[in-house]
Symmetry: C2
Subunit: 191 residues, 2 copies
DNA sequence: CTTAACTGCATCATCGCTGTTGCGGTTCAT
DNA sequence: ATGAACCGCAACAGCGATGATGCAGTTAAG
């Protein structure tokens, strides 16, 4: 479970942990093989401080993945996936997720160990995602014969593609609109 | 230019180079930070042999990227992108590219140095890709108001997504059909 | 205020990877 | 068949990253 279970840290220690995780995301996104030294520098912290909080590089990575996955789960939850109308939920969730994903791109694309907290969260998110798609299918927004798992994968791919290169030059809602539109209608001529 | 310009190698040396490049793809795909030792072992070659052919790890990576990019360009070319009917060309190119991309996934997703051979090839491929899409647009297969650069990016994303996980369990034509269908019509209900 | 937690700094040992060189044996080209 | 190219093996030096430790100074919590 990484750091989740440790008893509550002192206020400054908590700040350090956050700074380290944020710095790790920033640095590793640009250079996945970056050293602890570089991460420490970016966090405004001594390298030994990182080793005090995270035993291994591995442990740091896992904590990073867990933290990001929790934020992603929250972003989905905030979109009211199983109460709001499907189209509204999809739009809100997409906009929320885009923001989280642009801030934690590296951590979220990390190959998760099958029995880690992050993996469990991602699995739960995928479950909710398919549930929303199912509701959209019931509302005839998605073809009845469509393979929802493929649709979900396409949706994920569109999310990822929207964030490549110039990350946050457009606002999330504009990007979300384009994603949903592409997902539902593709590139073909409109009716 | 990497290794392209060196005078012709002896037959066994050429075999070694191919074995090394193929092993590098295989090993690095699973573990991007793998050591030269691991690559050498996978290639059935001594580590020093790699250093004889490629000065740096960097040089090896670049040669790998160039080699893969050349194969990809050839796969596109074989689809007759500017003579065959757009839909036919798209299908053929997609099927061809899927095969190359499944064999050289790591090398092709490598961030290319702006002034490398690989980058030039990828740029040329993107140019051809957009040309095909333009012809499809002229044939009313794609909406007249569509942003072709976005369409191309979506197409790339669909290609990538099709190969994740169980790589080659389905034949390329089936996958290609689904990709083109999704690209043109999305997940919405069919007419 | 007093104590315990936390941090920075300097240091140390260790490890694995890299890249090079030399040599003896093997394989290809002509 | 002969020479040049190639390969494996062993050894070496160098480098940077890792992770641990002790100590002195600072900060938060009760």
């Amino acid at each position: 479970m990484g750091e989740t279970a440790g008893r509550s840290l002192r206020a400054d220690a908590e700040r350090s942990v956050r700074a380290i995780l944020e710095a790790a995301e920033r640095v590793l996104a640009e250079e996945p093989g970056a050293s602890m030294e570089q991460i420490a520098a970016a966090a405004g912290v001594a390298r030994t401080t990182i080793h005090r909080r995270f035993a291994n590089r591995q442990a740091l990575i896992e904590a990073l993945a867990s933290s990001a996955a929790r934020q992603l789960a929250r972003a989905v939850e905030d979109g009211r996936p199983d109460t709001a109308p499907p189209l509204v939920a999809m739009h809100r969730i997409t906009a929320n997720v885009l923001q989280v994903k642009s801030a934690w791109a590296f951590a979220l694309e990390l190959p998760a160990d099958p029995d880690s907290e992050a993996a469990a969260l991602h699995q739960d998110i995928a479950r909710r995602c398919i549930a929303v798609l199912k509701r959209a299918q019931d509302d005839k927004l998605i073809d009845g014969a469509a393979d929802l798992d493929w649709v979900r994968r396409v949706y994920y791919a569109l999310l990822g593609e929207s964030l490549r290169g110039n990350a946050d030059d457009a606002d999330p809602d504009t990007l979300a609109t384009r994603i949903i539109d592409t997902l539902l209608h593709g590139a073909g001529p409109r009716a």
